[in-house]
């Protein structure tokens, strides 16, 4: 587990208590709602129940049923109504209950939410967040474990964020809510109950000070991707995001025992994409393995490999490898361990790299 990112260096202080990824998301929403009355939260079961993963727990009680509320069970309706509210001055944060249950909303997301700013020549901006719990590793049944990020990343006009640490869960969700562009916010559901020593009130102070800093780009505007090196290394770059970052870090630990120094890059945002950070790590190490849960064919992992080839070919000492899910519908709970990228599979990929000049 990563304990800190380079954006939040001073988090593991003595006062920091073990904090879950879920609590960080919840606090990010309540802090944003406290600051800005236009922020509202809705979706299926997010009110009284607090969401099936309890990410919105307590928001209705604290802010009232006008600020956090349940909707009829209709994902296209949720996304479409959110867009209308964003047109009319609100900053909706909507929850899709599970990755695959967001598919009824795809027409709204692809044909309107992603395109409205362009269609209106920038006159209508849609500051809204679509939260999607995604990925596997939790023993979920069919339709509860998809890694659907590539569908959205392929659609211009959407930003795609996916945090891998507790502090990023807080900071990136705050940033997504402040963004003038629609953000699809992918939450790795296997990380919901992981804990890190993080003081969320410190994070709030840090985030809000940065948002007020006029010399820096305003929070949420960030047109650049901001990938972070979460482990330094010299021999190979493990490039990952979301739920696979922790797997990459474990693989890097194991590789170190074999004398391989692996650097781990957490992309954090898929759109915008941080080409500069990718080039920097690949230029440094000369080797790359891309790790992602999603099926590999026509995937974000495929895009990363293509970008390395286009931009860093002459720095490479080895063909680039991918460790991804297989090109199959997500398997049943008892079989998912065979599908997901594992430490062993990453180590095998490292072995297959070209190590001799």
């Amino acid at each position: 587990m990563a304990t800190a990112t380079t954006t939040a260096p001073a988090l593991a202080g003595a006062a920091a208590k073990p904090t879950t990824f879920a609590a960080a998301l919840n606090t990010a929403m309540s802090d944003a709602m406290e600051n800005d009355r236009s922020v509202c939260v809705f979706g299926e079961d997010v009110g009284t129940l607090g969401g099936v993963f309890r990410i919105t727990d307590g928001l209705t009680q604290r802010f009232g049923a006008n600020r956090c509320f349940d909707t009829p069970l209709a994902e296209s309706g949720i996304a479409g109504m959110a867009m209308g509210m964003a047109i009319n001055g609100m900053r909706p944060v909507i929850e899709m209950q599970f990755d695959a249950f967001a598919y009824p909303a795809l027409e709204q997301i692809f044909s309107h939410i992603a395109k409205t700013a362009n269609r209106s020549r920038g006159r209508v901006r849609l500051p809204m967040v679509i939260r999607i719990p995604y990925g596997g590793g939790v023993g979920g049944v069919e339709h509860h474990c998809d890694s659907s990020e590539a569908y959205y990343a392929h659609t211009p006009g959407l930003k795609i964020y996916t945090p891998a640490t507790v502090s990023d869960a807080y900071l990136m969700l705050r940033e997504a809510i402040d963004s003038p562009d629609p953000v699809v916010f992918f939450e790795p559901k296997k990380l919901y109950w992981t804990k890190e020593a993080v003081d969320l009130s410190d994070l709030r102070t840090q985030y809000e000070a940065a948002a007020r800093d006029e010399s820096a780009p305003a929070a949420g505007v960030g047109a650049e991707g901001r990938a972070v090196v979460v482990r330094e290394g010299t021999d190979v770059s493990l490039i990952s995001y979301g739920p696979s970052v922790s797997t990459a870090l474990k693989a890097a630990d194991a590789a170190a025992e074999d004398g391989i120094s692996a650097e781990v890059l957490d992309l954090r945002s898929i759109v915008p994409f941080d080409d500069a950070a990718l080039e920097a790590t690949v230029t440094k190490t000369g080797r790359a393995v891309v790790i992602a849960e999603a099926q590999g064919f026509v995937s974000v992992a495929a895009e990363i490999v293509a970008r390395i080839q286009e931009r860093s070919f002459h720095s490479l000492s080895s063909p680039v490898k991918r460790v991804t899910g297989f090109d199959i519908p997500y398997p049943s709970p008892k079989l998912e361990e065979h599908h997901l990228p594992s430490v062993d599979r990453i180590l095998d990929a490292l072995d297959e790299l070209q190590w001799e000049d």
């Binding site: 479409g80 609100m90 209106s120 003038p180």
Partner: protein
Amino acid sequence: MTSETQEGTPIQGSHIKETSSSFGITPEQYMLPAAQQIRMLGPDGQLIPEEAQGTSPGHEYPIPEDDALLAAYEALVVGRRVNDQNYALVRQGRLAVYPSSHGQEACQVGAALALGTGDWMFPTYRDTVATITRGVDPLEVMVSFRGDWHCGYDPLHYKISAMSTPLTTQLLHAVGVAHAAKLRGEDTVVLAMCGDGATSEGDFHEALNFAAVFEVPVVFFVQNNGYAISVPLSAQTAAPSLAHKAIGYGMAGEQVDGNDMVAVLATLRRAVDLARANSMPLLLEAITYRMQAHTNADDDSRYRESAEVEQWKQRDPLLRMRTFLTERGVLDADAETRISGKAEEVAAALRLAMTTEPEMDPLEIFDHVYAAPTAQLREQRAKLADELERSQEG
């Protein structure tokens, strides 16, 4: 909120019970459309006696005042002229496409004139005349049909959404705009427009349901022009009428003669008033007819008889209104001259604008995708800029 009817049937939304009780009828009587469509002018332009207009308790629609009717007539004439001018421009190859509302102008005009300045309208691609009647310069609407950009007017300035090309997706945006306004305590009414074929789409259902559950003031205005491109309404639905769909959501539905300008304006105004006063949605179905093909790419002789089109010519909304207002003494020769002169001015401006090719900057395609272009889009923009520069040199 759930309340009980006399029969003990749960009815969603206390406003329905309050609204219906003020008419002395049950929620069901209130929500079901009147026994016949509301019609005030006969096909010959004669005012129908009040007892034959289709009204009944809870379904009563006062005739708008003469000034409003004259303004509606003017908009009808201008709208008809714009429809026919654009149809001609397409045939001359100067417009890429134009979905004409020729024959449906009473619905178009009524939609725009029933709304206040703070209200919102969500039109479809066939609602150019509604859009210009609400104040958008026809040239700004034509920006999309001549292929310059997807939307040429500022939706926030006019409170008119970009015309929707996908069917009924915009109804949900309408619900959202109304919901945001309601949460802020504003009394904005939103008019959400769609056609008969669109009522088969899933988002039609989701929008009506959301509007009813959240009790937001949206008037769903369906122009039933008989065909979804080629498919007749009988192949879209087995419902007794589209207006009957309202009761399933716990809202009131009504049917109106969509070629009767007086009745369209009267019913839409009442719907807007009820929606605003009670913060509730309503569904209004206007029975009308698309006199021309779906677009220039369509051949309507493949799916309908010319005799049917001829029959609908006899119910032309513009002629009915002209006869009515002339006989009522509201429209005289001077007014007619002034109005047709205005229509010609609008048409001439359209023709002139279409003879000049606007300056388009190809690099603009990168500018609005995000609030600030990504590094990737900046790279691609530079690549296109370089291509353009080299092609100019070459």
